[in-house]
């Protein structure tokens, strides 16, 4: 339930209804129009599914970049443009509703991409942070700080599985003192703490949807 349950269901329902209407409407079709319309329907259904798949993969960190999500969205809109060539008021009305659902889904998708990028940034930075030698300038490892970093890493893993506000709180250092900004051997840990200042917008949206 990455990018909003309600818009996704609206898109799916809209596609099903439009497909049904178009197939009935085109009982005696112009062959060329028929072919283009069926192609558009296929594009619509394929890309709606691809969008969900790619968003899930992005959330799981399995998608190398966001270009597939951009292509999926562009293809959805192209298919809608093609479907509007069907000259039928009833279908047009449903296409308007479907367009609204796609618009809403796209807005959530953009928010997801932005927030997911920040999450991925935080995770990469966490890996860098944990890998940095914690010596406080003494030349020896500092067990207390190492322990705190391990706790932070564990809490971040929990947060990734369950991105709610209370999980986020568990990832915070209790007082912050043991990971002081003044410690130049622990680069910018406040950056990671700062990244947990607020839950990402997509998590808020999901919480609001009850997902």
């Amino acid at each position: 339930m990455i990018i909003g349950t309600v818009p996704r269901l609206a898109v799916a329902a809209g596609i099903l209804l439009v497909v049904s209407l178009v197939l009935v409407r085109l009982m005696s079709p112009d062959p060329s129009m028929h072919a283009r319309t069926l192609n558009a329907i296929q594009t619509l259904t394929l890309n709606a599914a691809a969008l969900q798949r790619d968003a899930l993969e992005a959330r799981a960190g399995m998608l190398p970049n966001y270009d597939p999500l951009v292509r999926d969205t562009a293809n959805l809109r192209d298919a809608m443009v093609e479907l509007r060539r069907v000259d039928n008021a009833t279908i047009g009305e449903h296409l308007n509703k479907l367009t609204e659902a796609i618009d809403e889904q796209e807005a959530l998708l953009e928010a997801f991409k932005s927030d997911n990028a920040l999450l991925r940034n935080s995770l990469r930075y966490l890996a860098l942070l944990i890998g940095a030698p914690v010596t406080h300038g003494t030349g020896t490892l500092q067990p207390a700080v190492t322990s705190e970093l391990s706790r932070l890493a564990e809490a971040m893993l929990v947060f990734m599985q369950d991105p709610r506000a209370d999980s986020m709180q568990q990832a915070r250092s209790p007082a912050g003192q043991s990971l002081s900004l003044a410690d130049r051997d622990v680069p910018g840990d406040d950056a990671l703490d700062g990244s947990l200042q607020a839950p990402p917008r997509w998590a808020i949206a999901e919480a609001g949807d009850g997902a």
């Binding site: 192609n39 190398p64 999926d72 562009a74 192209d78 928010a111 940034n121 700062g194």
Partner: protein, 334 residues
Amino acid sequence: MSHPSGYGADDAGRKHLNASEERTAPSQHAVEPISPVEPPTGLDLAKVRLGERLFGDVRVSRGARVACITCHQLDNGGADHRDFSPSPEAGGMLDHNTPTIFNAVLNFRFNWSGQFRDLAEQNSFILQSPKLMNTNWTELIGKLRADSEYSTAFGNAYGGPLDAVQVLDALESYERSLVTPNARFDRYLRGERDAITPEEKEGYRLFKAFGCVTCHQGINAGGNLFQQFGIFEAPPMSEGANRPSDLGRFAVTGQERDRFVFRVPSLRNVALTAPYFHDGSAATLGAAVNVMARKQLGRTLEGAEVGLLVGFLETLTGEHFGRPLYRPPPRETQ
């Protein structure tokens, strides 16, 4: 409609996703977050030439004082090396830095606020904006039809009388040709392991380790999402911001969540497009890297780290029609 992939279009001019083909095609760079730029395909050279001519023709502006190429200079990385570009039609200066025209077609939205979804929409706005070309379609079409060479060329390329749709299509055709493949980093991604130096590889490793790549990814090393400018530090213009361009997408949508949110710029050819950011506030690439580290990562980088990152970014400079992009001399800093 523009598609951010560099793929060729089908006969209908649209890209239809063949999900199974795209996702199973083997690729050396399949696991890297940045993918190489492909040479442009599916171009109609007659339309590209028409677009190129329009791009450099001052008659597209009402007062014949400015053409697209005035700000999007191909020998200046596709920009103009200024903090803000002048506005000859309106007087004074524009309120934003000119982004590069190279690889613009690979972006998912256009201009700093990501206001436009396709090149035709953006170009139509630019032509009619009082601060930019300040013309209208009646005036512009009249000028072009009065030129027998344009009339003949458009007639041969498109058929029918010259109109706004053809003008926009010609401009878009030209912009589609302005992609820059064969950057050294792209050659590295394709398996030419010696295309970049060990230091540049280390710069790429830092680029990924610091998380820069989480926004600057994809075929255009950016350009495919929105992001807030100023995560760990407030944007420099948040206090007393008096330019609409400083507010990012908020100036377009009016929604509070879009305040200081910008379309992430591409880093392709970034070594050639100083100064940086929407307000040209970073004079050098090193300065821009430092700003990004502070504001987006909450980190102050060591000088050596900045040097490595800049070295990597320089490997993103590509070629245009087989010729390396011209590197302008460094701007004198104050």
